[in-house]
């Protein structure tokens, strides 16, 4: 029998080798051991559209350190020089002039000039669905000599430099656009890391761009694996397969924090989980009912106990990721007040309130929150029927106002660090994503007024006031702000970015051997 077993083991090993050598040809050198300076990382989100700039992939390329826009961002989200060294508003305020940096070399050896910028921006502007940061502005781009470009919009835009900090407006080498097809970032960016190999949604290989204009990448090579499953990312870090990963499962927080070989980082995200209320129909067209729901919920319990501390309780629409976010904890639940408000609105033992609560399971914390919310509302006299569904099927119903309550997870900064777009789409009377169906002329006027506010301090004041108005009107209930997580093992140099808009990989390096 031992002979048979040995033969079986040999046969199976040979088959494995034979089978995998076939697939290995397709995967090229995906699993080559990194060189001495190289690192391997597991990132959460793969490219969804083959690194297209009219998709979120533009921001991914910035995060990888492969492509760069005209404007960079400091840790607070303020514009700083990128491929452009300075900018200024001209004339009637509809045009901005950007002076380009000298000596920028693309990964293919071409030099950055105004023609390259015009080609890149015009390509992304010509898409059927241009990125949100530059869509619907009537944006035009023209060269102003070889070293500058002029960018105009139909109406004065006080945050145009911030818009051009979006990764979706990054500039690739003219060669990338020559074929007329979707430009490829392979060897065509300007960032500290050049993409030398693309393995679809599985990964990519990046190497240091030696002619980079700024601080060089800390690692000579970065092998990127896109791993969508959080537990797999965690296990890959623990096994030492990768030296850096992000978006770790909530259940692994404690053990990773206690692991001496791991540096665990937890930091705020610019995201809010909201309990959205249909303000266009009974019962939530009555502000007393909306306030009753707010009073009945204990958001501190939701964050600390239900989600185990993987999120911060939300007192406001904006959280600690931005300077204008709320810094105080939300109040504890006040069930008697909730009951009183409901009684005032005509609901009580004789006329019990029963509502539908919808959410979707793509984000695992949402169904958990739905159950906890149903339990917290019950003592106040609100019965909740929970339905989990597919968001794509739910959205038309939500936008048509055919729902009661909906738990949504929403980023309040989209492509660039300014929430005016979200305030406009989500909370103005004509907003295209106004799920709460909130409509206030005063609120609309304050959002519209942002078109004339350039000073970041003044804009922050408007954002703070807008969030306070939404809270006062109990438009919805901001529940929690999820925390981002990342971990290094044998790697150093990670800097948390709550805005999730700045390069991450260029500063990562193998940890010195002790």
């Amino acid at each position: 029998m031992s002979y048979v077993l040995r033969s079986l083991v040999v046969a199976v090993s040979l088959l494995l080798l034979a089978g995998c050598s076939t697939s290995a040809t397709d995967a090229t050198d995906a699993t080559d051991a990194p060189d001495e300076q190289g690192i391997r990382v597991a990132l959460q989100f793969p490219p969804r559209a083959a690194y297209a700039f009219d998709a979120d992939d533009g921001a991914l390329l910035t995060k990888l350190g492969v492509a760069e826009p005209l404007v960079g961002l400091d840790p607070q989200g303020n514009p700083v020089p990128g491929l452009a060294t300075s900018w200024a508003r001209e004339g009637d305020g509809r045009t901005w002039r950007f002076a380009l940096r000298d000596g920028v070399v693309f990964h293919d050896g071409a030099r950055l000039d105004s023609a390259a910028v015009v080609t890149a921006l015009n390509w992304v502007l010509s898409r059927p669905s241009p990125p949100r940061s530059i869509a619907d502005l009537g944006m035009r781009v023209a060269a102003d000599g070889p070293g500058a470009v002029r960018v105009s919009t139909d109406a004065p835009d006080p945050v145009l430099p911030l818009r051009l900090s979006s990764g979706t407006t990054s500039v690739l080498s003219p060669a990338a656009y020559a074929a007329g097809a979707q430009p490829s970032p392979q060897d065509t960016g300007t960032g500290p890391l050049r993409m030398t190999e693309i393995r679809g949604t599985q990964g990519a290989t990046l190497r240091r761009h030696d002619a980079y204009w700024g601080p060089p990448a800390a690692s000579s090579q970065v092998t990127v694996d896109y791993v969508t499953e959080p537990q797999t990312r965690e296990l890959a870090l623990r096994s030492g397969d990768v030296g850096f990963t992000e978006g770790l499962p909530e259940t692994s927080r404690a053990s990773l924090q206690g692991d001496p070989d791991v540096r665990f980082s937890e930091y705020p995200s610019a995201r809010t989980v909201l309990l959205q209320l249909n303000g266009s129909a009974a019962p939530f067209d009555d502000v007393r009912v909306r306030r009753a729901v707010t009073a009945a919920l204990d958001r501190n319990v939701l964050a600390d106990q239900v989600l185990g501390g993987s999120a911060a309780p939300a007192a406001d629409l904006f959280g600690p990721a931005v300077p204008y976010g709320a810094t105080t904890a939300p109040p504890a639940a006040d069930v008697p007040a909730a009951r009183a408000l409901l009684a005032e609105a005509g609901y009580g033992p004789q006329n019990a309130l029963r509502v539908r609560l919808w959410t979707f399971p793509n984000r695992p914390e949402l169904p958990v929150l739905a159950s906890a919310i149903a339990a917290q509302l019950q003592p106040a006299g609100i019965a909740v029927d929970i339905t989990l569904g597919d968001y794509a099927a739910q959205e038309p119903e939500l936008l048509a106002g055919r729902f009661d309550m909906f738990i949504n997870s929403r980023s309040y900064l989209s492509d660039f660090p300014d929430p005016a777009g979200v305030l406009d789409s989500d909370y103005t009377c004509d907003g295209s994503y106004n799920i709460d169906r909130y409509c206030s002329s005063a609120f609309d006027a304050s959002v519209a007024g942002l078109g004339a506010v350039e000073d970041p301090v003044q804009r922050a004041e408007v954002f703070r006031a807008a969030a306070a108005t939404l809270t006062a009107d109990a438009v919805n209930v901001p529940l929690v702000h999820p925390q981002n997580t990342a971990a290094e093992r044998g790697v150093t140099g990670f800097t948390p970015d709550p805005l999730d808009l700045r390069p991450v990989l260029p500063t990562l390096a193998p940890a010195p051997v002790e």
């Binding site: 079986l8 995998c20 397709d26 669905s129 949604t201 694996d225 797999t232 038309p396």
Partner: protein, 310 residues
């Protein structure tokens, strides 16, 4: 047998045609606007914008009548052009074939291991009913059949990759990276094969021809290997085809847990994104492979058991 093979092969095109209609219609019944889903797949925080969606509808060709869309797709598919992915905007054919190749290797290796382990174990167990090997196979098989892949995969990673550091925890492209996903996928069919072979072998052992062979003085081992096991494999062979076809597009859990770029994962993502060309091409390919696997299985059964021949 040749006539049977030809008859079955002639049935494949009409079945695929009906399948193509079904896979064209079904994703359109999933609910939600296709263009909106595609916009959101490309850019998660995008808000609804009718003008953008109208432009995108034209870009994707969804503004044409459904029948025209289907016929255009069918003509393209016959010519080998499976269309362009709505989300990646890359040709679907190479994407799907690459992913299917990975899944096919994964499934074939898992099936090979399942047979290599399951058949001897089943035969061993049947050789001495209620013996140690039989009890061990029964209990081990019950556990293997009960543990789902999403539990087994991470446990294997935890023990073999994290604990012992013998193998990598994720990836696909080297023999070492293939071991854990293949093992995870092989455990369930191996247990099933062992049970089937045990049951069939026990039945065949009581057959008069086996008793005759024993009476002629054949050793128990030779009787088992030459006269019993081949006949006991009929039901195993019958199950191998569907397993291969099903695993091609259905190994989603293993592919996600081990970050294997296979067809199951691609199809699951495409369904979420309403990437219709990928869904259509992927499902037709899965059905085509399943039909071919069923044909091969049937022929293999006939070869093994003359009673099944026409």
């Amino acid at each position: 047998m040749l006539a049977v093979a030809l008859r079955r092969l002639l049935w494949i095109p009409p079945v695929l045609l009906v399948t193509s209609v079904a896979v064209f219609v079904l994703p359109r019944l999933l609910g939600g606007e296709v263009t909106r889903s595609v916009v959101r797949a490309r850019s998660a925080s995008s808000t609804p914008d009718p003008a953008t969606e109208e432009r995108l509808e034209r870009e994707l060709g969804l503004d044409r009548p459904v029948a025209t869309q289907y016929l255009d797709w069918l003509v393209g598919a016959v010519r080998g052009d499976l269309g362009t992915s709505f989300t990646t905007r890359s040709p679907v054919g190479p994407e799907i074939l690459a992913a299917a190749g990975v899944s096919l290797v994964l499934a074939a290796l898992a099936l090979t291991i399942a047979l290599a382990v399951g058949v001897p174990l089943g035969a061993l167990a049947a050789g001495r009913p209620d013996g140690t090997a039989d009890r061990a196979t029964r209990w081990g098989g019950a556990v293997a059949l009960a543990v789902p892949e999403f539990v087994l995969g991470p446990v294997l990673v935890l023990v073999v990759a994290v604990g012992a550091g013998w193998l990598p925890a994720l990836g696909w492209g080297s023999p070492q990276e293939a071991v854990l996903p293949v093992l995870t996928l092989a455990v369930w069919p191996a247990a099933l094969v062992a049970r089937l072979v045990r049951a069939e072998t026990a039945e065949v052992l009581g057959h008069p021809s086996v008793r005759t062979a024993q009476a002629k003085g054949l050793s128990p081992r030779r009787t088992l290997l030459v006269h019993v096991v081949p006949r006991a494999l009929t039901s195993v062979v019958a199950g191998a085809g569907p397993f291969l076809g099903g695993t091609l597009g259905g190994a989603v859990v293993v592919e996600v847990v081990f970050a294997v770029p296979g067809l199951g994962r691609s199809l699951a993502e495409a369904v979420g994104d309403r990437d219709l060309p990928v869904i259509q091409a992927g499902l037709v390919l899965v059905v085509a492979v399943a039909l071919l696997a069923a044909l091969v299985t049937e022929l293999a059964q006939m070869a093994a058991d003359p009673r099944l021949r026409p």
